[in-house]
Symmetry: C2
Subunit: 338 residues, 2 copies
């Protein structure tokens, strides 16, 4: 009947375990500290007592002492996007293998929320932060680095002292996309981009345009909205109603490509790849679905996660903090003559 305030948590502490096992608190602590000096007999008794009481080392207190929380913050917006989600999955896996734990911070809200997220990371004394979306203010990243917190930037191309930058060879990939179109016999090229202007997206655009120029072709460029399916729909409507309709479209992103392809087929009655060749980027799961069967570049998410986590794990910072990975071309059916 009583209003019971449950706020009161009552976890069992090392003291209680020590009491039950008939040893000192230090012995308990050492039992759960790899490499510490404890006799086999003591360890046995401590483990038994801990088991019986349901004891778990308090990582908050341990982090306070060791000055190492084991927490790594993942800072991301729109995390339900297929590519983002699979990257998060790979990262959490790798982090857990390295005995770290991921703290997920959603920056969907406002623009400065990446800064807020980093402050959060500092408050929890995270060992590191991995930024998948947006770009924080320079002052705050400097504070992170100065405080000894590691920083990883994935597909953010900006320079930040002391941070690890992981990027893809976007320009080279774009060049290969162009060559693929050319070999397929295409003669009118377009690039479908979002208007968010992320460096990696712009690099793809630039690389594609440059490759076109080298071969004497002018590339039609259209930009609209966020990098989502619905933007692809709009981009298709803009590109496919032009007087000189492109027969090859490189999309900044698979989501754009899906929206564009659906619209090309269902609204404009075009056949892919006969009337129109399409290449995307990311190799999200949907690209392999038979409705799309999209030729695209795969992001090596496992490699990215591996690079990030192994950099975090090493005790010594190397001088070179930039890592460029290759995006592999996945041949499917949206380009003629794969």
């Amino acid at each position: 009947m009583g209003r019971q305030v449950v706020n009161r948590k009552i976890f069992v502490s090392a003291k209680e375990v020590a009491h039950r096992a008939g040893v000192s608190r230090s012995a308990v602590s050492r039992t759960f500290t790899p490499g510490a000096s404890v006799s086999e007999e003591t360890r046995r008794r401590v483990v038994e007592a801990a088991e019986a009481l349901g004891y778990h080392v308090n990582h908050l207190a341990r982090g306070l002492m060791r000055n190492e929380s084991g927490i790594v913050c993942l800072i991301v917006s729109e995390l339900d996007t297929p590519y983002r989600a699979s990257l998060i999955r790979a990262l959490t896996r790798q982090l857990q293998s390295a005995s770290k734990v991921a703290m997920l911070i959603n920056t969907d809200r406002s623009d400065n929320s990446v800064d807020q997220a980093l402050r959060q990371a500092i408050s929890y004394r995270a060992d590191a932060s991995i930024i998948l979306s947006g770009m924080p203010d320079k002052s705050i990243t400097e504070l992170c680095v100065k405080s000894g917190q590691r920083l990883v930037l994935i597909n953010r191309d900006e320079q930040r002292d002391g941070a690890l930058r992981i990027n893809l060879h976007d320009r080279e990939a774009a060049r290969r996309a162009f060559i693929a179109f050319l070999r397929a016999g295409c003669r009118s090229f377009a690039f479908a981009n979002s208007d968010v202007g992320t460096p990696s997206l712009m690099a793809r655009e630039e690389g594609f345009r440059a490759a076109g120029r080298e071969h004497g072709f002018e590339i039609t460029i259209e930009r609209y909205g966020p990098t989502r399916y619905q933007s692809g729909v709009v981009l298709a409507q803009r590109l496919l109603t032009r007087e000189a309709r492109p027969d090859a479209i490189f999309c900044a992103n698979d989501l754009l490509a899906c929206g564009l392809m659906d619209t090309a087929r269902h609204q404009f009655r075009l056949t892919v790849p006969d009337d129109l060749c399409i290449i995307g980027f990311d190799d999200i799961e949907q690209s392999s679905w038979s409705s799309y069967n999209l030729t695209t570049f795969s992001q090596p998410v496992d490699r990215i996660a591996e690079e990030a986590v192994s950099w975090l794990a090493q005790p010594i910072l190397s001088d070179e903090n930039s890592c460029k990975l290759e995006a592999q071309l996945v041949w499917r059916g949206s380009v003629r003559g794969g």
Copy 2:
């Protein structure tokens, strides 16, 4: 040239802020504790010093003192699945609005890893854990509850004392799916399920079969693999090669439905909805893409997240810890005569 060990973190503490502001450490603490008694003048000086030094309250230490870490664990496997990803997105949003932070634990690995995840949650003295995948052992959930940690089970139908269970009216939804098929003129019904046997999936199967029985129809049931696209492909191959080919298939899941629909169209040359009506479940983003245009039931992810977080936030546990929400039927083009 020196091997510089960077392990050493050097965050600024309240003591330093106090020194710079010329006040006691308590004053600093009170400045950052809502509702504490500090004069306007002191607060101003403290805030200024904190700003200058880049001070952030140590949430580890605060959590230790307050016995409330602010951490909520999300325990999930296969988080790159569209439905899971959008649920996680909604949850992180809501948690952040409630000044909590999400710790993401990936349980892809082994079977007992949900138990491991909960131990992790206990170690970090999480205020609560939200379980989206799998089911932990009873002993460990009891330990959580006994320790005063909140527990939320989403779409896990098992009873656990002290935990909040959030579920959908799966059986009722399945019944409505059957009625929709019946009204569309279908006469041969099938249910396409995965073989993982999650209670909510089984409830859909059971509800669909029961509705069929009531109307004098026997339902064909096929189960295969995980709840993913590729399983839908296999299920289509099994169901559509039967002598009595179904003209209505209710899929346990949108991913299954997408795989099944693609296969029905591209491999069996069937037209949806003329030859075959399909209904899915979850309303993932892809279902609204024009290639699928799938009639399905929407999971109210925002409502789910809201329910979960508001239950965590309230200081007093109510007696009734079960919450059933309705899945809304989203009419699209995969059933005749919507």
